[in-house]
């Protein structure tokens, strides 16, 4: 019994309620950092850890936070973790830190973190909130990594900085530029939604996927759905 909600949450956050495919959150960073797999990985790792730990902290002290100021407190907690990650990056991966530039600091504005805090951590126990934050981060990471694979492959001819295309390969400059992320994320979204709805159509039976919110993180659906500014 203790294992099944964790699994449901994992499935929810990675696939049926994926932060990018379904909730359309965190699009800003999706467009900005995905032209290079290493940076994408480190950036999404930062988001993953921040989401997990801030969800954990918020859930742990939720009874102490007055409802009226809870947003401010949440932002404070999130920024605390973001600063820690920023400092860690600067200390141990200074080059990556320089390349990512403002985007590490901007993790705080990632809607996914706020969305999980508001939608899940506010109403659940700390440990499961931590798990929810981590899995949300994984869902986010998987999509961004998929984008980064395409963009780095075509844009630089390499993966994780390792050259995989032959010498004569002509790089697709547009893949390095932000516009490509726009249509690639749209195509990926299209593809994923098709996959998500296809079994429901062919089987005709009502599988647990789809429109109806699952019992666990139901409030997540009501969480701020607006796009990242």
């Amino acid at each position: 019994m203790s294992k099944s909600p964790a699994l449901t949450i994992l499935k929810e956050n990675v696939w049926t309620n994926n932060p990018i495919f379904v909730q359309i959150l965190g699009i800003c960073s999706t467009l900005a950092v995905t032209n290079n797999m290493r940076n994408t990985f480190i950036m999404t790792m930062g988001v993953l850890l921040t989401t997990g730990f801030s969800s954990f902290t918020i859930s742990a002290i939720k009874s102490l936070i007055p409802r009226k100021v809870r947003m401010i407190v949440q932002v404070l907690i999130i920024s605390f973790y973001v600063i820690i990650i920023d400092i860690l990056l600067r200390a141990y991966l200074p080059e990556v830190s320089r390349q990512l530039g403002p985007y590490v600091g901007l993790i705080i504005t990632n809607c996914i973190i706020m969305g999980r805090a508001e939608g899940f951590a506010q109403a659940n126990k700390p440990l499961i909130s931590f798990w929810d934050g981590i899995t949300s981060g994984i869902g986010y990471m998987l999509v961004l990594m998929a984008l980064a694979v395409i963009r780095e492959w075509l844009g630089f001819g390499s993966l994780f900085g390792l050259r995989i295309m032959p010498e004569g390969f002509t790089p697709w400059t547009i893949m390095i530029m932000a516009p490509s992320a726009f249509f690639l994320v749209a195509l990926l979204l299209w593809f994923a939604r098709n996959l998500q709805t296809a079994p429901a159509k062919t089987a005709g039976s009502p599988p647990p996927t789809g429109a109806q919110p699952a019992p666990g993180p139901a409030p997540a659906q009501a969480a701020p759905k607006k796009e990242q500014a």
Binding site: T170, W172, T173, I174, M175, M177, F183
Partner: protein
């Protein structure tokens, strides 16, 4: 297999002499580029339409031909394929197929490859003439014989003989060079009511006026007015700004649309450092505003009509009132 579209056929007829002339200019390689473009375009649309149960529109033939003609002559064939697939797929079918696209597919595809492979493509121009013999051999590599386009030459302060510009014996994209043939095609398209003269005229005015102003005001880096005969400006004006799908529909908005495209052409050509040829960008820019212009014009007309109706009602009300009092008086 094809959906019959008379208008699109006429555009194809208009493009035929230009394509033939470009074979003379750049050799049989042009036919290869055309074949790849047509094949890729038709196949992409076919795959989509098969799923929807529709027919391939003849518009895709126009799109593919225009796309092929807007490529530099020595373009690698795989780039043609990438571009045309992107054009038909991302700029047309994704929006729902023929008649629903916001942007001109051929131009969207062209810009996609131009931005992606800028270095390679700007090195793919070669000197025209005599079935491509001027560039050496017919099919082989011509990279060594790269020649600067007139726009680049003018940018650097040089000049191109006006006659070369008129006859199209200057380097450039495959089908853009012959001013005379393009003008003939324009006359044919206007005479058969295939293309809207307003769109062409307003685009030309929109470009000529600011270009002349920049030139005579002595703006640094301004191009001489005959630069409008160079590059793809006329080709795009005649064949792409008149695209019935992506251009606005109301006469007034067609004027705004053309003027906007022309203005953006002049601005990009004068002030942009990395892209001396701005017509494609300008056209996409215009496309973005096409339906907005239509809506504004529509709303204005509606408001005017309402106002007129209100005025009429106000005017007729006392008249009716007096009539009734007259009736009562009798």
């Amino acid at each position: 297999m094809f959906q019959k579209q008379i208008m699109m056929r006429r555009v194809l007829y208009a493009l035929l002499p230009i394509a033939l002339f470009s074979v003379w200019l750049y050799g049989p390689r042009v036919l290869l580029v055309l074949a790849v473009s047509l094949g890729g375009g038709i196949l992409t649309e076919f795959l989509f339409e098969k799923k929807k149960g529709g027919k391939v529109s003849e518009a895709v033939l126009v799109t593919s031909t225009l796309f092929a003609l807007s490529m530099p002559p020595a373009v690698p064939l795989w780039i043609v394929l990438v571009g045309i697939v992107f054009a038909v797929f991302m700029a047309k079918e994704v929006f729902g197929g023929f008649g629903r696209n916001i942007f001109n597919p051929a131009i969207a595809g062209r810009l996609f490859v131009y931005i992606s492979f800028a270095g390679l493509l700007t090195a793919s121009f070669y000197a025209p003439g005599n079935f491509g013999a001027a560039a050496g051999n017919l099919f082989g590599k011509v990279d060594a014989l790269t020649s600067a386009t007139p726009l680049a030459v003018m940018r650097d302060g040089g000049s191109e003989p006006l006659l070369n510009l008129l006859f199209g014996t200057r380097s450039g994209s495959i089908g853009e060079s012959s001013v005379i043939l393009i003008l003939v095609a324009a006359i044919y398209l206007i005479a058969t009511k295939t293309a809207q003269w307003r769109l062409m005229l307003s685009t030309v005015i929109g470009a000529v006026v600011p270009t002349a102003i920049f030139w005579f005001a002595g703006v640094p880096r301004a191009l001489p007015p005959q630069a409008l005969l160079a590059g793809s400006f006329l080709f795009i004006t005649v064949f792409m700004s008149t695209d019935p799908v992506s251009a606005p529909k109301k006469p007034a908005s067609q004027w705004y649309y053309g003027l906007l495209i022309g203005l953006v052409v002049a601005i990009i050509r004068t002030f942009s450092g990395s892209f001396p040829e701005g017509t494609s960008f300008a056209l996409l820019f215009g496309n973005t505003f096409a339906s907005l212009f239509d809506k504004i014009v529509n709303d204005l007309a509606k408001r005017k009509k309402e106002k007129a109706a209100a005025a009429k009602a106000a005017a007729s009300a006392p008249a009716a009132g007096s009539a009734s009092t007259q009736g009562a008086g009798k």
